[in-house]
């Protein structure tokens, strides 16, 4: 078709400005696609973080708070729960397993979880996937520690390394707050999961108890600590006195509501029991605001890209007035000249969208390793989902609409200019 060929030749003639415009749109589209896909991936990663656990129990607090400190390692528990409560929950009908969790220590900014081998056996993530050890074995000796994938990568640890845990969960730990009399040996490194499990260290409940003897006030009482050998000899007496959270697995899922009610009405201490999935969704709703803001910003950037295109089209319109008059004098009808501009805008928008998509895919492919390393985010390079395709289609439509503005102006001008060539 003649119009398409003329539009193409004309665009080629202005390729510098056109390529810049396409780049602007490509950048904005790339940003939009990246934001959308990262958002979806993060959300999915979020939902992957815990699976197969029917109920999480902790001291009475807000549901989301309990989820944050028990699963994501964010924030601190306000209270602990007693070992008696743990035993009583274990005795409830339908309860198959209970993973005990004792928090309070950290290493290099990563949390240390006091737990048992049940964590390895029973904890599930994503689609009920079990944990696996990439190297070594689960802790056996009292002063052995198993570390998550990210911990090993970022701190560059390998099996057999000795590490010292810090009291408290903060990033900045005072020298006096180190459990330096009780160094731990790394016995195992977990395979990557893309969940908070990767950023945690695991020791036995007994070890957790042992290193806290003499720390009852929250700081070390000099001379009150138990030497490692004595602790090892008395391992049977190192029963934990309190726990931070419990992950409960039931025989039948349907029993979870009954157990939750029992936990709510438990008299000996105030407890909270949460169902992981609905609480994850609740948490996502809270963070959803930030997500919407991110989307809005990406949308505005796309708008800016389209306005940039409009600016270029309108600026060149003046320069091209002569071109329009020549076409008109040689038989082009006003609608054909308007069509030329709409077609041009469509071509620029389509090229920008395509380039932006490729850019987003390239960035995804290039940054996947880095994101996994630094943020434990598992990003797949994939094409947009149907919704995003619709959005991109809508942007192309918006591009065509933007093209209508100079088209309409050119239409009016070709009528007004008559056969004169104005310069």
């Amino acid at each position: 078709m003649i119009l398409a060929r003329l539009a193409w030749r004309s665009l080629l003639n202005r390729r510098f400005a056109v390529i810049l415009t396409i780049s602007t749109i490509a950048l904005s589209i790339g940003l939009l696609v990246l934001v959308e896909q990262l958002r979806a991936e993060v959300r999915q990663g979020f939902q992957r973080s815990v699976s197969g656990t029917d109920l999480i129990v902790g001291a009475r607090t807000a549901d989301v708070h309990l989820l944050l400190y028990s699963v994501f390692g964010l924030g601190d528990a306000t209270n602990n729960i007693s070992v008696e409560t743990y035993r009583e929950i274990l005795d409830q009908p339908g309860v198959v397993w209970v993973i005990p969790i004792a928090l309070g220590d950290s290493h290099g900014g990563f949390r240390v979880i006091g737990t048992s081998e049940l964590f390895l056996e029973r904890f599930r993530y994503a689609n009920r996937q079990p944990l696996e050890l990439a190297q070594g074995q689960w802790f056996d000796d009292l002063f052995e520690v198993v570390i998550g994938h990210q911990v090993a990568r970022q701190l560059n640890y390998s099996l057999g390394d000795e590490i010292v845990l810090a009291h408290g969960s903060g990033n900045v730990v005072l020298e006096s707050q180190m459990h330096d009399n009780h160094p731990f040996t790394i016995s195992g490194i977990l395979a990557p999961t893309g969940t908070p499990v990767d950023s945690q260290l695991y020791i036995s409940l007994q070890a957790h108890r042992a290193i806290h003897i003499g720390w009852e006030g929250g700081t070390r009482r000099p001379g009150a600590e138990v030497p490692k050998d004595i602790a090892r000899d008395n391992i049977d007496r190192l029963e934990p006195t309190s726990l931070t959270a419990l992950f409960v697995g039931l025989e039948r899922r349907a029993a979870v509501f009954g157990l939750r009610d029992w936990i709510r009405n438990y008299r000996q201490e105030a407890l909270t029991g949460i169902l992981p999935t609905p609480t994850l969704q609740e948490l996502w709703r809270i963070t959803g605001v930030a997500e919407q803001v991110l989307r809005l910003v990406a949308g505005l950037v796309v708008l800016a890209g389209l306005l940039g295109m409009l600016t270029v089209l309108l600026t060149t319109l003046n320069e091209r007035r002569r071109e329009m008059a020549i076409l008109r004098a040689n038989g082009a009808r006003p609608w054909q000249i308007a069509g030329l501009l709409v077609f041009e805008a469509g071509l620029i928008a389509a090229a920008g969208i395509l380039a932006g998509l490729l850019l987003a895919l390239a960035v995804q492919a290039a940054s996947a390793g880095w994101l996994l390393n630094h943020y434990g985010l598992f990003i797949e390079t994939r094409l947009p989902d149907p919704t995003l395709w619709k959005v991109l289609g809508g942007i192309l439509g918006a591009g065509l609409l933007v093209g209508l503005v100079p088209a309409w102006m050119a239409y009016r001008r070709t009528l007004a200019d008559g056969m004169q060539i104005r310069h």
């Binding site: 080629l12 003639n13 020549i326």
Partner: protein
């Protein structure tokens, strides 16, 4: 008759007085008319009227038995594409298009022009050759040419597909005297071959004697001209 104007009046929108008021003007088939007059006397307006880009407030324009004043704008566009060839003072060509495609342009917008031209590309080349343009330039961009060469390409374009009437709006004013005569030789030659009429607007009285008829626009335009 090729062209007949009768009781034409035209006022530009927003203007208080008409710029054209012509009771009668006619051109015979194949006639070459030299039209002159000072700036602002309405020459360009007259060409736009004949070209069908604007419609008269009153009166009749008949070209090739087709009454332009009763045609819709779309009909006038179609008529212009089929029956008129246009040459401007300068900047006639799409700078980013090669010569062949510039010449072929009217055939892209009018099927009648294309049909009369037959082999459009061949006809474009024939006209380029006839207009004395060197063959290696035919496939080059138009903006590499001198002004004189560009005007000859514009003439070739106006002539392709044998339009009934060529409208030329001071096509030689950007050329020096020697080139003007050379341009006119080539143009006349092809106009005669195509059998088209030629309405040639110019200040340049030195060229006037070569035309069949010379006409001062002021002699036929009764509108008061501000000058």
């Amino acid at each position: 008759m090729l062209l007949e104007l009768e009781d034409i009046q035209f006022t530009w929108p927003g203007a208080s007085r008409p710029v054209l008021d012509i009771s009668a003007f006619a051109m015979a088939e194949g006639e070459k008319v030299f039209l002159y007059g000072p700036s602002g006397s309405g020459k360009s307006t007259l060409l736009a009227l004949i070209g069908g880009l604007i419609a008269p407030d009153q009166g009749h324009i008949v070209c090739k038995q087709q009454s332009l004043d009763t045609l819709s704008r779309r009909g006038r566009d179609r008529f212009r594409a089929a029956e008129l060839g246009v040459i401007f003072q300068q900047f006639n060509l799409l700078p980013w298009l090669d010569l062949e495609n510039n010449v072929a342009l009217p055939c892209r917008f009018s099927r009648q022009r294309a049909e009369r031209a037959g082999d459009v590309k061949g006809e474009a080349r024939r006209l380029l050759a006839a207009m004395d343009l060197p063959k290696p330039d035919w496939t080059r961009r138009a903006d590499g040419l001198s002004v004189g060469q560009q005007q000859r390409v514009a003439a070739a374009r106006a002539l392709i597909g044998q339009p009934a009437l060529i409208l030329a709006d001071e096509p030689t004013s950007a050329l020096d005297t020697d080139r003007r005569n050379g341009f006119l030789d080539l143009l006349f030659n092809q106009v005669d071959q195509a059998g088209s009429g030629l309405l040639f607007v110019s200040h340049d009285q030195g060229l006037a004697s070569r035309f069949d008829r010379q006409l001062d626009l002021r002699a036929i335009n009764q509108a008061e001209v501000l000058s």
